[in-house]
Symmetry: C2
């Protein structure tokens, strides 16, 4: 994405990130050379099967799981759907309540809400102004009728990392299965499923530098799980359809790279993030950090900027080669106010000015300089056109 | 899969087939260059979105559909699950019967049977000795309580092509949604969804030379469909998860190639198939063709060979560089007798000797010579070890 004429600072890695060179290289033979179906009984298939199992072990190792606790899926969204629907359908109507946080990804929220039609009740746990779920609150909300609790590890819109271990412990004490969506944290935050004490954990390939179209679900041994995609014997009968071998190889290679580089990567991202946050808060008046200051994703900086419309900001930044987001790439474009920001108690008008930077190890301090060269000007220009901005301040302070 | 020392005749293309050169070439830029998320609002994402929509149009064109009637999935199995579960859940419990043929793919059979736990009744329509479903029989079986009928277009185990148009017409007259699994026929049999008059049709990438991990579902405009993978706005809200852009580009390119080469390809495959069938029936005593002689997949030849164990046959053929299958690659290895062959009325003992050749345009008459050079010897050797074979004939004729 470099071109000789224009400096590019791509900082929307939560939405998409390029496949890493060594990952793509590892995948290539499996498209047209080692193409056999791993379920076949002859040597060509058996060799591919062995490769698939090697990747399963690598993914398991990244999160401290056993290989047989990993199911490959086509995305983090599928993993979330499998975790929720697979758990609920495996003991259908034995307990009829699902608890999720108010700031879950759409794939979790909408999977849970799907069961409302089947006479389930979905409880949305509130978060505080930093986006944190309170374990005490969960404890009070849990009851005998709860079939599943799902609370994300990290939030891609405000960057906050939830106290998963504490939340999972509450569920363990009550014998209620606990799922966490780790798509935002995988590869940049240390994950150990035993340390966290979770029953189910979703992850996705792209945040690790693997391609779109691959993800995985960790499910603790003896967890009951109905397949989401019924089919043959693939994934030990838990997910039908021929294995996406090149994708699986990509995920395995990416997991291996993530394992070895995590500490260095997290340190680099944290430095960039803190520099960016300090700069934006210093140089843009009436800009506010969203999410928690410390308990946040290493490469994540998110703000609400007053008297700004997020999409207009993103559009103008992109014309200067700066690529960022205004919330989640998966959210409805029609949905003007982010439910996540609303859940944090941010006023609707201020929430319009949401801007999210998600960094990768390829980003540099130079990228941040580039942002700081353009962001103040762009904000000023947009505010000059805003009906709710006058004389360098909001008409009514909404923060 | 060529090597200089050993002649390879790979004839298990229904299980897996190499990605075509031009398909892989088309995909490559979307892994690391044009990697943006198509749901983003800036130029990089918008360009990718446009590419995704171009592929949707190509897939639609291959089957005579409109682009907005195509949902990209991760496999044919996912498309089958989406068709069945999406239809049933969209009007949950309004009608409580699902009709499928007795020879459907596991992803259809097991999706339907999943609803048995939810108080649905699944009716398995019998087939005749060729594997054909009788439209009159369907007519008699259909009732007011039928929510969906699913009958495959072509069967990968016995090669038979079903009279879809006639079956769909019966359903149309009764106002019951009709789904067909076209994974076995896509690219080698002409498909026009309007001509066939189906409401839902599943297809898969690999049979077209696209990679594993991509498929699609056609759903007729105004068909009610609950997502299988809930999530954001992707696929117009019908399938969550970031689009598998490289896979989608691969499927689009493969669909384009299939459209232009279908006639020539089908003619080539039919010639090979007929040569193979004639040779096997002539040179292997007590070998029987399974499925219909004429109404069958162009590249498909399947047999039951008496006093032979299919897996042993496949193993020994593979040692001579011949790769074939014994039924479906997705079926349980523990399942000794194929339910498809049983449904055709083939005795269990004879069904053990199932062998399936699935050819591609890369196969040649030379491959068939190679098969005929080894198959008779291998069969003879296996029979020599068989307790149910004596003096050149089965101990008791079971056919």
């Amino acid at each position: 994405m470099k071109d000789s004429q224009k400096k590019i600072a791509y900082m929307d890695h939560a939405a998409a990130t390029p496949v890493k060179g060594p990952v793509l290289k590892a995948m290539l033979p499996y498209f047209d050379r080692d193409f056999a179906n791993p379920s076949t009984v002859y040597d060509l298939g058996f060799q591919v099967k062995r490769v698939v199992e090697e990747q399963r072990a690598k993914v398991a190792e990244l999160i401290g799981a056993d290989p047989e606790e990993i199911i490959f899926t086509s995305s983090g969204a599928e993993a979330n759907n499998l975790a929720i629907k697979g758990t609920i359908f495996s003991r259908f109507k034995k307990a009829k309540r699902i608890i999720v946080s108010a700031i879950e990804h759409h794939s979790v929220l909408n999977s849970a809400r799907f069961f409302e039609r089947l006479d389930y009740e979905v409880t949305f746990l509130p978060v505080d102004k930093y986006g944190l779920v309170d374990p005490e609150r969960l404890k009070k909300t849990l009851d005998q009728d709860t079939a599943l609790v799902s609370i994300m590890h990290g939030n891609n819109e405000v960057g906050t990392i939830e106290p998963i271990r504490e939340l999972a412990t509450v569920c363990r004490e009550h014998g209620v299965p606990f799922h966490t969506d780790a798509v935002a944290t995988i590869g940049s935050v240390e994950i150990d499923v035993h340390e966290m004490d979770v029953d189910l954990l979703s992850l996705s390939g792209p945040p690790l530098g693997a391609p779109k179209g691959i993800g995985a679900l960790y499910f603790r041994k003896n967890t009951r799980l109905m397949p989401l995609i019924h089919g043959g014997i693939q994934e030990r009968g838990r997910r039908g359809g021929t294995e996406n071998v090149p994708g699986i190889v990509g995920l395995g290679k990416a997991a291996e790279l993530a394992k070895s580089s995590m500490k260095k990567r997290a340190a680099h991202l944290t430095q960039l993030r803190d520099t960016l946050i300090a700069n934006v808060l210093e140089k843009i008046p009436h800009a506010y950090l969203t999410g928690h200051r410390e308990r946040r994703l290493p490469g994540h900086a998110s703000f609400c900027i007053e008297a700004i419309e997020g999409e207009a900001l993103i559009f103008m930044l992109s014309r200067n080669g700066i690529y960022v987001n205004t919330g989640s790439a998966c959210a409805s474009k029609a949905l003007k106010t982010s439910p996540v920001l609303v859940a944090l108690g941010i006023p609707a008008a201020l929430a319009q000015g949401s801007v999210v930077f998600s960094l990768e190890e390829t980003n540099t301090l130079d990228d941040i300089d580039h942002v700081m060269k353009h962001l103040p000007t762009v904000v000023e220009r947009l505010r000059a056109m805003s009906p709710i901005w006058k004389n360098g301040a909001p008409v009514a302070n909404m923060a």
